[in-house]
């Protein structure tokens, strides 16, 4: 391969990606997770596909199959756009080997194109966890037309990459690097949120008996034959749709690399480091160490964009939960539903805050070399993660109180779940550089600890199960998950004595 060309550079990027992935144990983890996923998905498909095969398309599908394809395309596109926006932001703002490449005699077009292709390949590969088992099922059942998901996903990845990069570069030009980065991160969260809310749409439509598809179908532009839905027809190998999708997406990527490479180069030269104006006055120093410990954690959390992404999602999850609670569900089921919701939201938020306050502690040596006991520091780090999680969910409990729902058991389950989540992290965490929370090497996050991740997943499921049964005093079914949680807690404690943590056992 000729050196200094685009294919050579793409090969170099892929080699770096693979080295990093394979040396960090990602491939092994990937195989384990995707294997487990495949088995689960195949089992699920085995039972469900048999019942829906009559409605699946031959050439032009009947209503259900058609809307299913549109929904799959829309979800895949949102997922890809979120992924591409995050990766574009990283490609522009994380220096990495960019200075070396820019300083070399390689043409800027080739550098930019290699970055675009890297993002597109990464986005496409992020689908593989779902697509591999899907393909196996498709082959098993003989629905070969559904292999159209491959050209569809290739075109989705290329379009999302182009749009993600165009948006990031445009925002950098008009807002500057620092604000653009924050906004791109924020927009990718919005896209994730739309993704979450859309997944709740069928439930909400059912609750409010809203006939959205029929209304849409009455407009010609939304009819099944409309060109608007052409890209989604690629999913079942409609030849015209496949050709159009691939040609359009490739052309869009080529145009982006051809005309925006100078924007890319100028954007990469901007600093994303925040320069702030000196405040006119400073708050007087405080001697209250407990307050200082909490204040320091919360300041660092609030000033980091990672928090935004982790706060916004749980708050948005509250919306469908609240709507569901107003939708006339039976009281007893509603208590279980709301308890499960509080456990899910609270645990997710508490985990994010614990990652910030414990795993991403930037100066563990400063804390360890100080005369303050490690126990006290850990206690306040726990509180720094727990108090905001409790405050976030309090309005739901107030709502439950006003509705005269039972409160004691739900609150106890919620407190148990959030505290357990935080303690599991504290006992098993490893230090990570703060920059990695938003950077390219996200596989190095503490969640990459397979034992911790597995323990957390099992504990979360157990708490959700307990949240479903315990508020209704169904002790036989509620007791089993609590016993499982206790076992995980004991195992985690003893593991922590072996591996130690970044803030000192």
């Amino acid at each position: 391969m000729k050196t200094g060309t685009l294919p050579w550079l793409v090969r170099h990027e892929l080699r770096l990606w693979w080295r990093e992935a394979s040396t960090k144990g990602l491939s092994k983890r990937f195989i384990i997770i995707s294997g487990g996923f495949s088995v689960l998905l195949l089992g699920w498909l085995w039972f469900t596909l048999g019942t829906v095969r009559e409605v699946l398309p031959k050439v032009l599908p009947p209503t259900v199959g058609f809307w299913l394809a549109v929904a799959v395309w829309a979800f895949a596109f949102l997922f890809a756009l979120r992924e591409a926006m995050a990766q574009s932001s990283t490609a522009i703002f994380d220096r990495g080997d960019l200075d070396l490449l820019i300083a070399s005699p390689m043409p800027s077009k080739a550098i930019f194109a290699s970055r675009l292709l890297g993002i597109a390949i990464g986005t496409f590969l992020s689908f593989s966890l779902f697509v591999i088992p899907y393909s196996i099922a498709v082959l098993l059942f003989g629905f070969y037309a559904l292999l159209g998901i491959y050209p569809a996903l290739i075109s989705i990845s290329l379009i999302a990459t182009s749009l993600g990069m165009i948006l990031s570069l445009w925002l950098t030009r008009i807002l500057g690097a620092k604000r653009a980065r924050s906004l791109v991160d924020f927009l990718s969260i919005i896209v994730s949120s739309v993704f979450v809310l859309l997944s709740q749409l069928p439930n909400l439509l059912r609750i409010y008996q809203f006939q959205l598809p029929k209304m849409l179908l009455e407009w010609p532009v939304f009819s099944q034959t409309s060109p608007l839905w052409l890209p989604s027809r690629a999913l079942y190998f409609d030849p015209a749709a496949v050709v159009f999708s691939l040609v359009f997406s490739t052309a869009l990527l080529w145009l982006t690399s051809e005309f925006l490479n100078r924007w890319f180069l100028s954007s990469t030269q901007q600093s994303v480091v925040e320069k702030t104006k000196a405040p006119k006055t400073f708050a007087p120093f405080s001697s209250n160490l407990n307050a200082l410990l909490l204040k320091k954690e919360w300041k660092l959390i609030l000033r980091n964009p990672y928090l935004l992404s982790r706060t916004f999602l749980p708050i948005l999850l509250l919306i469908p939960l609240t709507l569901a609670s107003l939708g006339g569900t039976r009281m007893i089921a509603l208590v279980s539903l709301l308890t499960m919701g509080t456990v899910l939201i609270g645990s997710q938020f508490a985990t994010a805050l614990t990652i910030m306050s414990v795993s991403a502690e930037e100066a563990p040596d400063l804390l360890k070399s100080s005369p303050i006991s490690g126990v006290r520091i850990r206690q306040f780090k726990l509180l720094a993660a727990l108090i905001p999680s409790w405050l976030l969910v309090t309005p739901l409990f107030v709502f439950m109180g006003f509705q005269k729902m039972p409160l004691i058991l739900p609150v106890l389950v919620f407190l148990g779940a959030t505290t357990c989540t935080v303690i599991l992290r504290l006992w098993n965490t490893r230090p990570i550089p703060l920059a990695q929370l938003m950077g390219r090497k996200r596989e190095n996050l503490p969640s990459a600890d397979i034992w911790l991740s597995t323990g957390e997943v099992i504990a979360n499921f157990a708490w959700l199960t307990a949240a479903f049964f315990v508020p209704t005093s169904n002790w036989p079914f509620g007791g089993i998950p609590l016993a499982i949680i206790a076992l995980i807690g004991v195992a985690s404690y003893f593991r922590s004595r072996v591996i130690g943590t970044s803030i000192g056992f």
């Binding site: 480091v273 925040e274 702030t276 120093f285 209250n288 300041k299 400063l366 070399s369 100080s370």
Partner: protein
């Protein structure tokens, strides 16, 4: 005179490899002590054990008579440790960082605030007091870490390669601050690869290799030991460490 730091039979192993092997060291209060050694000699491991960051496998560490193992809180209260990679929070402002450090050492707030402002002005960081630390250059970060070390007025400051990344002016400022600090009766232990710094500033020099102290004394004592009073510290250092290797 009381010993600022007394290390007895200190050892630390990583796997089969001894990083520190039966090290004995006594540094008197009010002394500027330079700990020298080639890469991998065990300097940083020793200092990290003294700061309470690493648990020794054997031996004892006393700081002003307080055992680090038995009374860590009192021992650490008298000590500041500044590693070569500054221990800072990127999203805090300098005064917020110093307030936090002062809080960890339980310094009264008014005293800490006055000292923090003074240190920022002396170290030429006052004009950037409103910026997040992440925007600082390496030299500025080093200076802020130094301010964090000085804010609780420790009796013993341990610095691991403190001049890395500093420009000539800042390096001179730091050296003057350290010299003044020793003149006030405090103690400084410093590791460096720049022999001239040890030669000019240190009242006593220790050379460590393969986890053990192989020579110690004033520059004159070390020269006398080699039998050549004209020899530079660099020559002495290379001779001693090469012989050991």
């Amino acid at each position: 005179m009381q010993a600022a730091l007394e290390i007895t039979q200190l050892s630390k192993r990583f796997g089969e490899q001894f990083a520190v092997n039966g090290l004995n060291l006594c540094i008197e209060a009010g002394m500027f002590y330079a700990l020298l050694g080639p890469n991998g000699a065990g300097k940083t491991t020793t200092l990290r054990m003294v700061a309470g960051l690493l648990q020794p496998d054997g031996g004892d560490i006393q700081i002003f008579g307080h055992s680090l193992a038995q009374n860590p809180s009192e021992a650490k209260r008298l000590l500041a440790y500044l590693p070569d990679d500054p221990m800072l929070y990127s999203k805090l402002r300098p005064l917020e960082y110093l307030e936090f450090v002062a809080g960890l050492w339980s310094i009264p707030s008014q005293q800490a605030e006055a000292k923090a402002i003074e240190l920022l002005k002396v170290l030429d960081l006052w004009k950037v007091r409103g910026d997040y630390i992440e925007s600082f250059s390496r030299g500025m970060k080093q200076k802020l870490a130094l301010a964090g070390g000085f804010i609780h007025e420790p009796k013993l400051i341990i610095l691991d390669e403190p001049l890395t990344g500093l420009d000539a002016g800042a390096a001179r400022l730091v050296k003057d601050m350290l010299s003044d600090y020793v003149k006030q009766g405090n103690s400084v232990i410093l590791t460096t690869h720049i022999m001239e710094i040890a030669e000019r500033m240190a009242s006593r020099i220790g050379i460590i290799n393969k986890g053990a102290l192989i020579a110690e004394g004033t520059l004159a004592e070390l020269q006398a030991r080699s039998g050549n009073s004209e020899e530079t510290l660099e020559d002495l250092f290379l001779e001693l460490t090469e012989v050991e290797s």
